[in-house]
Subunit: 341 residues, 2 copies
DNA sequence: TTGTATGCGTTATCAG
DNA sequence: CTGATAACGCATACAA
């Protein structure tokens, strides 16, 4: 009968090196506090045994997990991938591990994930956007869990945030589009319920429309979930309006890519017949043809800074200041002047 | 001075409900073993205290973490996203949490991640592809950690695998391309070192070339890492050959998208001047224009089945049988007959 | 510099 | 049906 060999423990190492468990522990955590000779002995014991510290035990002992949790709306497209990648790289450098889960844009799932992550001992949390049940904020503050919001900056929010001004970014883009002479504006927005980024982007468009003297009636809007197919379908619907829009502003690049594809299937030239813009500036925006005019979001910078700030909050028990990042319009061929009427 | 309120424990609940910790624990884990009245009392105590079980403590006690770790080469593009999503959905349904980390296609990072995940008590591991240092396999089997490989099926491998035959899939596609009359074949492959999928795909092309009577000289190959820009650059290089290829087979859709973009920038019609194919059939393949002929990989099915099998391996201490999934060629406009020559 | 002893929050065994 | 109590593996205050 074979002996079931489970993971070696501190005790096994201690026995083999003929020291106490405390010494072994010290060898790992403060090597300078143990003399060269014994340390060497311990280290070889660790090596030959293939010892790895048991994480759960360590967490229990130090009451810190060196784990940061992040909950993003979706992993299915690249919107959050790049930012998260740099977030995790930065965390890794500081000795933290990232735990990611996705909520599928569902508030109740996000809430469950938050609890799971906390139960797992996450030292801090990264959340996307500000819209959520107030009781979650209460829970977080009661438990004193440092949390940071990304992808949306608001100056006076419950949680500090690192991100950009979604309203202003879209306001600028919409103003630019209107400045080119477009008067019939179509909008393909993501679902705004529970999604402040989507809501603020729409608001930015509305503000641009009214501040440039256009009527609200010049604006038609379709709201749909962020999937390429939905972008295509929304485009079809919008183009049925009379008069049809000459420019369609999409809530993100994924929707814009769907709209673009649909335009091509309908034989409509972009931007000759209709202009299309995106938001995010993910790789997709450069790949489609014509490439998308879009709003560039500094994903990597956002991820990196979020990591730095969150670690700071965790380690020094500080509140976190947040930071507003700036976006910029990237002009590409999908946007042009409207055809002469 | 404010009192530092940390998470309530089993003990707090027990006190409030005036029972022992054992009873509280039972209420959570085997509710039927405690009588209605006390259970209700305990449950309300849990509710009012906002109690959440401490994960680390639970792990220590049961020596199971209900956590599955997955290490994927990259999170930056959608290649693994969809499969991982269904993997995690299925795991979630069975009460497991997924821990993801990415290795950036670097073997040494993958190894480190494996150790981290195991130290964190992962009950099982999902790895991508078969190529890795043998000592990792030894480590895994010594520690008796169930592990499963995905994205590449091999019948006789160290670890059971759920995936497809990369060689055969690419063989079929290449044969199809050659069948259309192409004789000058260009290949843009991912880096094959440490990547059996990439290696086998190239092998499939070579086999197709030789079995269809073409000379090896009809095939030119560029090897590069999986990034869009590199696909573009490789395309440029390949088209410098004399004679230039009439069809370019790419190791995945990302490289193909890069090649496609480059073709457009060079004013070359696809497929009129040169055909381009991808591999994976991620969303990108349908978005670019012309849409890519590619090999469809059943990502969702693969993820789901991997989850089922891995959980089975974990819970019943079984070895895992693996399963070969089938791929199919998806014909789209990026592939056509070669121009008459 | 090193060892001893204790606590971290749960589950599980064994009595009652 | 419920309550003590012993693990689980590690870190650390305190002693030596």
């Amino acid at each position: 009968m074979e002996k079931h060999r489970s993971a070696p423990t501190l005790d096994d190492v201690a026995k083999m090196a003929d020291v106490s468990t405390a010494t072994v522990s010290r060898c790992l955590n403060s090597p300078d506090r143990v003399v060269e000779a014994t340390r060497k002995r311990v280290l070889t014991a660790i090596e030959t045994l293939g010892y790895t510290p048991n994480f759960a035990a360590r967490v229990m002992a130090v009451k810190r997990s060196f784990t940061i949790g992040a909950i993003i709306p979706t992993m299915e497209n690249a919107i959050f991938a790049r930012g998260l990648q740099s977030f995790q790289e930065e965390l890794h450098q500081r000795g933290y591990t990232l735990l990611v889960s996705s909520s599928a844009y569902k508030p109740e799932i996000e809430e469950e994930q938050i609890r799971t992550l906390i139960a797992r001992g996450a030292d801090g949390l990264l959340l996307i956007g500000h819209d959520r049940d107030p009781k979650i904020y209460d829970f977080l503050s009661q438990r004193k869990i440092p949390a940071l919001v990304a992808w949306s900056y608001l100056p006076d929010s419950k949680l500090p945030s690192i991100g950009f001004d979604n309203r202003a970014a879209m306001f600028d883009l919409a103003s630019h589009v209107i400045g080119l002479g477009h008067t019939q504006i179509g909008v393909i927005s993501g679902l705004v319920d529970g999604n402040d980024r989507a809501r603020l982007r729409v608001q930015g468009i509305r503000d641009a429309v009214s501040s440039s003297g256009l009527e609200a009636g010049n604006l038609t809007l379709v709201e749909t979930s962020y999937e390429i197919e939905n972008g295509a379908k929304a485009f079809r619907d919008l183009m049925n309006a009379d008069p049809p829009p000459t420019a369609i502003l999409c809530g993100n690049d994924v929707l814009a890519a769907g709209a673009l594809r649909q335009a091509q299937e309908m034989g409509l030239d972009v931007p000759g017949h209709v202009s299309i813009t995106g938001f995010d500036d993910i790789e997709l925006a450069r790949i489609v043809s014509p490439a998308l005019t879009t709003v560039h979001v500094p994903h990597r910078e956002m991820g990196r800074k979020a990591a730095l700030q969150l670690v700071e909050m965790v380690e020094n028990q500080t509140a976190g200041t947040g930071e507003q990042l700036s976006t910029r319009i990237v002009n590409r061929p999908s946007l042009g002047k409207p055809a002469l009427g």
